[in-house]
């Protein structure tokens, strides 16, 4: 019963913190169930038991009952205090990352997450971490508020534009865990997603040396298709011709793009390269200049792949 309820409400626990949060969650859930049965049971029981049978039915005149009233004041108070201290305790324990935790810089902007690793490399949309190692995230936003949430780890922290906030986790299970943005940030809010890739220490070191294994050995066109999702391009640019926050990529290769300032450009390698690295230079008519720059966050090989991918979208 307990396991069934836990699975009904909670995603599987994949961090050390998750376990302690879940224990408290289940305690409160049982409190909820017991008190709901009490409230609903008494209400229904009294409605049946004391249903009006005649218009002049005699009723009791009970104004109050001190012992009873004290009971339902003090008992819930005690239970609430237990829950408070339990929640306080797990919160404080989980508050500060242990010494020696690996540090990762997290940058949020509309509508992508990027992660800076200790070796200076940057990855967009994917947070690679080794399993069984504490990871401390130092986060800031470049525009509005965002929030970093990993349901599988039971952590959440708002990301602010004017100061650093932090959170940490210690993943216990290898796997992929979604990071949905949970502070409303506009049009692309519901598609501002990233993934935590929890891998073994070996695989993690391999990632640092050789880059994303998912991107290895793919022909540029295929790699471009992967990057289209992973780098967050798909949030704003469609590949089927529908108008999103940005122009669709379908059939734009070697077309003429008209800009808001009236100029016109041929969509070629250089146009796409500039659009990705300095998007504010060229804004297509009918759109706003909201695309963030990928300068310094995208490798040359990835740029080539994206260009190849766009070329292929007829």
């Amino acid at each position: 019963m307990n396991t069934w309820l836990r699975d009904l409400f909670l995603p599987s626990a994949a961090s050390i913190k998750a376990q302690s949060v879940d224990d408290l969650f289940m305690f409160i859930l049982w409190l909820n169930i017991i008190f709901f049965i009490l409230i609903a049971g008494l209400t229904i029981l009294f409605c049946i038991q004391y249903k009006r049978r005649s218009a002049n039915q005699k009723t009791a005149h009970i104004e109050h009952h001190t012992v009873l009233e004290l009971t339902w004041t003090v008992l819930p108070l005690i239970l609430c205090l237990i829950v408070f201290f339990w929640g306080f305790n797990t919160y404080m324990q989980a508050g500060v990352a242990p010494d020696g935790a690996m540090e990762i810089q997290v940058t949020a902007k509309k509508w992508i997450w990027s992660f800076g690793y200790p070796d200076g490399s940057v990855a967009i949309g994917k947070l690679w971490v080794p399993v069984n190692k504490p990871v401390r995230l130092i986060m800031h936003s470049e525009d509005v508020l965002h929030a970093f949430f990993v349901p599988g780890f039971r952590i959440k922290q708002d990301v602010l534009p004017n100061r650093y906030t932090e959170t940490w986790f210690h993943a216990t299970q290898v796997g992929d865990y979604v990071i949905p943005c949970t502070e409303y940030c506009g049009k692309g809010h519901s598609e501002m997603k990233a993934v935590v890739k929890v891998v073994s220490q070996q695989d993690y070191e391999k990632f640092l040396e050789e880059g994303d294994p998912d991107e290895k050995g793919l022909p540029p066109e295929k790699l471009g298709a992967t990057l289209y999702v992973n780098l967050g391009c798909s949030t704003c640019h469609s590949i089927d011709g529908t108008k999103g926050q940005g122009p669709s990529w379908k059939g734009i290769w070697s077309a003429q793009h008209k800009m808001v300032d009236g100029k016109s450009f041929l969509v070629d390698e250089n146009y796409i390269r500039t659009s990705i690295l300095q998007p504010q230079q060229m804004i297509v008519e009918g759109f706003e200049g909201i695309m963030p720059s990928y300068q310094g966050q995208i490798r040359e090989r990835q740029l080539v792949a994206l260009i190849a991918y766009i070329k292929s979208l007829k």
Binding site: I28, L31, C47, Y50, E69, T73, A147, T182, C185, H189
Partner: protein
Amino acid sequence: MADVIASPAVHTGDHGHHADYLSDPQHKGIWSWMTTVDHKRLGVMYLWAVLLAFLVGGVFALLVRLELMNPGEDFMTAEQYNQAFTLHGAIMVFLFIIPSIPAALGNFVMPLMLGAKDVAFPRLNLASFWVYVAGAVMAVTSIVVGGVDTGWTFYTPYSTSTGGAVTMMTLSVFVLGFSSIFTGINFIATVHKLRAPGMGWFQLPLFVWGIYATAIIQVLATPVLGITMVLLIMERAFNIGIFDAQIGGDPVLFQHFFWFYSHPAVYIMILPGMAIISEIIPTFSRRTIFGYRLIALSSVAIALIGFLVWGHHMFTSGQSALAASIFSFLTFLVAIPSGIKIFNWIATMYKASISLNTPMLYATSFLLLFGIGGLTGIFLGALSVDIHLHDTYFVVAHFHYVMMGGTVIAFLGGLHYWWPKMFGRMYNETVARIACALVFIGFNMTFLTQFFMGSQGMPRRYYTYLDQFQPLHQFSTFGSWVLGAGLLIAAVNLMGALRGPKNAPDNPWGGTTLEWQTQSPPITHNFAGQPAIEHNPYDYRYFKVPSDAV
């Protein structure tokens, strides 16, 4: 032994000699309504206004649910969806729930309950109504001219940087705030000064206690919202740098200001709902209320402690651990008085004579739904658990159980309870019960599912979602149709009754409070003479139930 608690001057049986407030020959025509200072007419005008707002907000809710039928775009773009949920929230909170019970039902019933001729400041009451209308017109204008996509919370810096008619919308919230403050001041003065002879503080009907506690919050908290909105407008217009980090401001400061009002506002919304339940349950149980003083004082306790818990909306915002801990602690304290009320209401049904007429059906629905709303609040008050649940559908489900399962259900119960008094007409009882059942079932279908989605990690304000959530989202959308159908049937039933003859008895439910001791609908000056109080309310030992009561 006295048979009635009211004085002989207002003894029933001599009605028919007086024209009621609806058909008073001295006050005829549309102009007499627009300039009326009669609290009953103002209550009725407020009622139509808030019901209209409820309809508009409800349509937006159905649209939002419909869009969530499938992941990705169904029939709205992300931008339109963001505007739809913003308008749903803003209209429901500022135009519907906050004024619904106090300004509509409270205006009509409270002076009657006190045995007064009117509120203390009738002209201020009229001003409050027209200020409300002005605010509502501005809110509608902002929808038409540009759309607002900030969410009803207007969090900075998104709200200072986005386009659309945010300035107009916030200005309308500022204006609506004044309407709320005027009503609050008026009600406080009325309760202090216009009680009938013999009516001490502990002879007040509990509805009046609830409305009084609400009025205190309205007067103390709403100015803070007004100031916050002005700061936001100035920030947008002049780039002052209070909230916008780009120019040196602090976005979290806005959240503190906003919730300093908006958490107490939650109690502005729920206390009047509790107040209605405290009337319905003793009347339909024909029994004195259990623990009168505890219920009355718990309203005041909720109003006061409610001012000190705003930080529990901000556990993940980056506020200090110390602040978070204090807010969590106080949050658990404020839960206690609500729990006390629930148990006292249930105890009132012990050894009673219960009839499950429509108002009582709504009251029992309230006990179950508000029970769930309150209990699930314990999850959110606990620090470490809230970190996981914050800004997910779990929170959405929780506050809908409190706001809709609590306040709106109580409002519907109150409407069915006082409808015969307000308009002198009975509605079809069977249809009303069917509507109540549909509302109950549809509501649970819509929102119970959202608890599971939320704790599984479905964030709120999402236009699209992971495929794993689709079955629950669809079920929730089906539920919203059942809920909508129930509300529609209830509305048609109530409105339809207005076309029938004036067939309601003066006291159809056997209520003990003073509004039932005058005719239905009441005469323009409420009572033929000055009523006096000899017994406590709900004391059925001294009260003879009229023979024409249901």
